[in-house]
């Protein structure tokens, strides 16, 4: 399997993973907005922390993609 084909497969998997986390983040934002409107303040901070953790995962995956590209260019 060529590096390019491997890269395409890998990026597809990463894209699916990032897409899933973004959908979870959207759900968290929906829950937070509803909680804010009905005054359930206790829900808001844990939801924001959860969303930040998902952002961190996405950032790590993006960093991995950039490193992969750099390595391929070097080779």
């Amino acid at each position: 399997m060529s590096v390019r084909t491997q890269g395409t497969t890998l990026f597809t998997a990463i894209l699916i993973l990032v897409g899933t986390t973004v959908v979870v983040q959207l759900w968290l934002l929906t829950v937070s907005t509803e909680a804010l409107l009905i005054g359930q303040v206790k829900t808001l901070v844990p939801a924001a922390v959860g969303s930040s953790v998902l952002l961190l995962i996405n950032a790590c995956l993006l960093r991995y993609v950039s490193r992969f590209d750099r390595d391929v260019e070097r080779e």
Partner: protein, 171 residues
């Protein structure tokens, strides 16, 4: 000679569409996926930011929900069976009720279905929303009939002599 040079220069010039998108056909899938990951991570950043804005707004908006407020005389409540007041701000209507077994309870008057004002029904000993016939349990504020699915926010009360004080909003 001059004309030929001009023609050659225009021939070798890269077309504008290729300058805007300098990707070969075989590399197209590879690049679009990578760009999509970047775009979605940016979206993820915006969503996390929006979540934090909601959390901060929640803290700021409900900062005054523990402030004490004099809501009226106990004697007025005994006369009518229920007392309307505003808590924690002047825009939040609430209702205090003396139950038949002598318990003092208070809830937000805003129905959790479509925000109509709930009223005390003495005969059924329940809080009733006249708009869509939603019924709430008087002791817990939980919905027992009709379209509402969420309980009414409860307000803690304190009796000091003949005066009643709202002390905290419990979501």
């Amino acid at each position: 000679m001059t004309n030929e040079t001009k023609e050659c220069a225009s021939c070798n010039k890269t077309p504008k569409w290729k300058q805007d998108f300098p990707i070969e056909w075989e590399g197209d899938h590879y690049v679009t996926r990578r760009e999509m990951v970047k775009f979605m991570t940016l979206g993820s950043l915006l969503l996390a930011g929006a979540n934090w804005i909601a959390a901060i707004a929640g803290q700021l908006l409900h900062r005054g929900s523990k402030a004490e407020r004099d809501i009226g005389a106990v004697s007025a409540l005994e006369r009518t069976g229920s007392l309307l007041f505003r808590y924690p701000t002047d825009q939040d209507p609430c209702i205090a009720v003396r139950t038949p077994d002598g318990k003092l309870v208070a809830y937000s008057q805003v129905c959790t279905h479509l925000s109509c004002a709930v009223v005390y029904d003495k005969a059924d000993n329940a809080l009733v929303c006249p708009c869509h016939h939603g019924v709430f349990n008087i002791y817990e504020g939980s919905p027992v009939a009709g379209p509402p699915t969420r309980p009414l926010p409860r307000i803690k009360l304190e009796q000091r002599g003949d005066r009643l004080f709202a002390t905290e909003l419990e979501a």
